[in-house]
Amino acid sequence: MGLEINKLKQMYYDMNLIRRFEEKVDEHSKKGNIPGFIHLSIGQEAAQTGVMHVLTESDYKFPDHRSHGVCLLSGSPKKKVMAEIFAKKTGLCEGKGGSMHIADVEVGNMGNNAIEGSITATGLGTAYASKYRGEDNVTAVFMGDGTCGRGELHESMNMAASLKVPLVYVLVNNGYAISTKAEEAHSFPENLSDRAAGYDIPAEVVDGNDIEEVYNAMNRAVERARNGEGPSMVELLTYRWQGHFSGDPASYRPKDEVQKWKEEKCPIKNLRVKLENEGVASEKLDKLEEDASKEVEDMVEFALESPEPELEDAVKYIYAEPYESMKEGK
């Protein structure tokens, strides 16, 4: 199913936004303005954008460690995503979370957990809550190919299918877990998502760099979930252009492999060609790119100018309901 031109244009904007965002994050990480380590998703923008265009703010989303784009497109004030990564008080988690722990519960971003795979189990719970309350929102959990090694995923699939909860497993297969190729450390017949069949869970494998394929596959999975037909898996085949984290030289990968993905499979370039073929003027697309760059520049400015958290924030929220015996003066 071909998507409307307007939708594709919005997607084009969003993909550019993610790319610019990641480039800036990389730059400021290297400059020392961003603390900690950072996982970039340059090259994977279609996978993130296509999925997020299907989900709404009332759906529960569990981004993984490589999910700035997911957070950006969740519906949050975008500059607050950037500010969070900069560890600023104006960030979505007031600077307490950082790149790997970004949540915005108001728009259904339930936050990442840097223990890979554990959100596949946590997502069971939001999905069960939707069913429990008779609501039609769905839960989407993101995970990489390497994360498929985790036992928690399997416990999750077994229970999700058995309880028939509205859960979609978004498997972003970029071929590598740090330095390790999926086929080197895992065993599966053809695709990692073939395993879903063992739980009677339908799975689809699509080109994760083709935004229309991503959108359509995700849409089918979400529809099934909303209709009460239970969990699905969507496997998106893609590639990360950078190393595992910002600064990783990624010498474990052949150079021509990277080159090939950049040249032949750039999700942004390919959508641009498609849009131009559909008759969208090149200037219009340039303008979208510029606007995206501008929006990201503004985010960076906001983040740079924002204050750090207060020291008193350090001991805030340890207990949601503090105990009488812990109160001041006791």
Binding site: Y60, C93, E94, K96, G97, H101, A103, D104, V105, E106, M110, G111, N113, I115, S118, T120, A121, T122, G123, L124, G125, T126, A127, Y128, A129, Y132, T139, G151, E152, E155, S156, N158, M159, S162, L163, D313, K316, Y317, I318, Y319, A320, E321, Y323, E324, S325, M326, K330
Partner: protein, 325 residues
């Protein structure tokens, strides 16, 4: 007043809370049709059905994941981990998710789960069905650990735990399930984070919970005959610890025994002794005596198990030793 068994008191708490609050649901292995391995969830499935009472597979990690996720949306899951030894299977969800979610997302969500689990030895069940893992949970800021001793406490503390916004690990010592005691019919709460002076005394304080608290009360009774006045404190909440109640007591008695069933080294009493040494140094007239298990796994042979676990006599002698110091 009417008497109930410990397990019945817990069961009544669950019935009343599920009746009161549609958001409360329970999950665990065999909690439904069978009513739980120790009968604590009896009758719930019949009354509330599959939606609110879930018989799970052997998937402790996913059970905790489900609980956390549901709690994030405001539901109140009560998850039964059949034996406390199995929290090793879901330890990540407890440590890295339940305990930290509220903090790391800066207060945006809470994780009001209750993880109920049967701990303790004496059941001749050996290594993987006998442990007292409270110490594994003591260095994880954000977690609350609750441990009732009597049926009255079992009911009141479970109700408070379900209503709390904090993630709670709720220990049920398996040798207490069949003990009886008075339990009011109506619903009631007992304050979390608050210790209970169960017997007043002036010569020595013993801090003990669950089965060890039973021993402590018995020993206090016995020692009273010799003119030794023992104050018995049941922490009820093990983490965070109610310093105030204990400090007040020590200020009076100046002598302390801590009794716990886990291995001595690195156990629960280590922190109490450390804390008292630090904050009540001038008041202590004798070392804080720890009566605890040998630093050993819990063997199968009843003879060995009885030798490894702390017994009534060791509690009694421990108190005497501190008094005579």
């Amino acid at each position: 007043m009417r008497e109930l068994k410990f397990s019945q008191a817990l069961n009544e708490a669950l019935h009343q809370e599920m009746e009161r609050d549609e958001d409360v649901f329970v999950l665990g292995q065999d909690v439904g049709k069978m009513g739980g391995d120790f009968g604590v969830t009896k009758g719930l499935w019949k009354k509330y059905g599959d939606r609110r009472v879930i018989d799970t597979p052997l998937s402790e990690a996913a059970m905790l994941g489900l609980s956390n996720g549901a709690a994030f949306t405001g539901l109140r899951p009560v998850v039964e981990i059949m034996f406390a030894d199995f929290i090793t299977e879901c330890f990540d969800q407890i440590v890295n998710n339940s305990a930290k979610a509220h903090y790391m997302f800066s207060g945006q969500l809470t994780a009001p789960i209750v993880l109920r689990t049967a701990n303790g030895g004496g059941f001749r069940a050996a290594y993987h069905h006998s442990q007292n893992p409270e110490a594994w949970l003591m260095n994880i800021p954000g977690i609350t650990v609750v441990a009732p001793t009597t049926p009255y406490e079992a009911k009141g503390l479970l109700i408070s735990s379900i209503r709390s916004e904090n993630p709670i690990v709720f220990f049920e010592h398996k040798m207490l399930y069949s003990t009886s005691g008075e339990v009011p019919e109506e619903s009631y709460e007992l304050e979390l984070g608050k210790a209970k002076v169960k017997r007043e005394g002036s010569d020595v304080t013993i801090i003990a919970s669950m089965k060890m608290c039973e021993y402590a009360l018995q020993a206090a009774e016995e020692l009273a005959k010799d003119g030794i006045s023992v104050e018995v404190i049941d922490p009820r909440t093990l983490v965070p610890f109610d310093k105030e109640t204990i400090f007040d007591s020590i200020a009076k008695t100046n002598r302390v025994v801590v009794a716990y069933e886990a291995p001595k080294t690195g156990g629960y009493g280590a922190e109490i002794a450390g804390m008292l040494n630090d904050e009540m140094f001038e008041f202590l007239k004798a070392p804080v005596k720890r009566v605890a298990s040998k630093d050993s796994p819990v063997a199968f042979s009843p003879k060995l198990e009885d030798y490894i676990l702390p017994n009534y006599n060791e509690v009694l002698e421990g108190i005497k030793e501190v008094v005579e110091y």
